[in-house]
Amino acid sequence: MSGAHPAFLVFVPALSGLCLVGFGSRRWGAGPAFAAALVCLAVLAGTVALAAGLAPQAGVVGGWPEPVGIRVELDRMGTLVVAVAAVVIGLACLYAAGEGGYDAKFHGLMLVLLAGAVGLCGARDLFNAFVWLELVSIVACILIAYRGGRRAVEAAFDYLMASGLGMVFFLVGVALVYRQVGTLAMSDLAGFTGKGPVIRAGAALCVAGVGLKAALAPLHVWLPAAHGEAPTPVSATLSGVMVKASFVALARLLGAFDIGFLGGAVMVLGAAGAVGAALLALAQSDPKRLLAYSTVSQMGFVLAALGAGATGPALAHACFHAAFKSLLFLCAGYAIALSGTRDISKMGGLLRISPAMGVALLVGAAAMSGVPGTSGFLSKSAVAGGVPTAVFAALLLAAAGTVAAMAKLCAMLFGRGRRAPVCEPLTGFRLVPLVVLAAGCIVPGVLPGPAMRLFGLGPPAGAGAMLSALAALLLGVATFLLTRGAWWGAVSRLLRRREPALGRMLFVIYVATAALAAGSVFVR
């Protein structure tokens, strides 16, 4: 096809989303949700065409030849994340239609978010990446606060401030790089040799600014509130799309700068975040907050693998995590509506009340825990094969913590609990996303061949991987049983009370160090 261009994948959702925002009417009912799902389907079809070689992967926008025109390129990593983003956003729009109370503007903004994610995945220079990062976070803020509610609005505001600070980091970092190199194209940066202290400082600032959005500890402090308090379809989208698109940008940055200590720092911070956030997830009493902390933990796995240079496993875990975390968020949101409480200890017996949701939750939790035969096992064992031994040990602990947190989440399916007086049954639009996402967790686990080729993973996991998965499962179940006692209730209350201050302190130390380092580079 001569007219095909990868930028269409940005224009189509952006224009249709803006039309919905501008002209959408309340009288259209579920129409906008369908329209949004169709546009997502079109974007998915576009990525399939790209992957099959029917359309060019790269193109130049702006009417100028390459050095001046803006290069857009969707390589395999970008195409895969765009496909996942399109699927997750389409399903989230359908779920929103089933839940009710979302108007055409909401679906339009979801499409704009998709356009931003596509643009970010295709961005090949630092300037372009900056614009898309800002667009994605501003739209995400509006979506987090969409249903109102004091806590959601405050979470959105905190997120806006954190991401604004991250983007100031990024701008200053890019300025440092540009002053030395004189170009913003990532391909030129990769070829630039003789990286002095100025470029190193600039690169570190850029990585910190993007890492903030990809939940790199300790810059994740905004995430649990934002993902936990957002409306349910938005929570699913945030962890399925936004964090993943930022991950692609981070991977591109690390590849372009190619500075050893940055990769090492991302690896160590990722592993530390994986362990710490798994512990904090276990200490939560709100199911959506638990899942939000577990997003930080799982992104820790992804970033540790990325920092260690195992890009394929990192990408695989990022994509699989998008499927099972979105599934779990949708299930948790429905479970909250079903039981009329957000306190996990007061929820129970939900498997009997809603078997479909219960089974979907079990599937998602199994995939997240890395049970053999699910997608999580595949990607976690690939990650384990790509990191050094010390990081592997930390990730094994984090995996055990994940299993314990998932067991705590699944406990609400059994036993006795109270039930909300009014809740719509789980049918139609809300059931379809659960089924599709659950299939996305199971199919790569049962048929690992195509998935492994797609993500470029190594030979299939052997006995060692099975053994470490079993060890994590056993350790996790033991932890879960141990933490059922009253003592853990006291400890987790303490953790929940102290954690914001501690996270803030780490954040301040980190930012102050970065600011001083940047300042010293200039003043020298």
Partner: protein, 97 residues
Amino acid sequence: MNPLVVAAVLLVQVGGAGMILQRDGFRRVVSLAVASSGAVLLWTGIGWRPGATAPIDVAAQAAVVDPLPQAVTLTAIVIGLATTAVGLALLLAARDE
């Protein structure tokens, strides 16, 4: 050392400190605006050349400033405006809840 660049870095640091140390929402929005104008000033300082004019409708041999930092600057100003607007709207929404 270009004094413009030093002033810009100081602005970024003051604004950043305000953002993480202030509790009041409005002051945090203002701090973000200060920090991002520092970043804008930094980019302007990078593109600046002594005696050069703006790269608009000039002869081929004329000394012009680097146009790319100007594009970055404009974009950053627009995005900063949007961020400030959304931040203030969220503050109002939080107050009305």
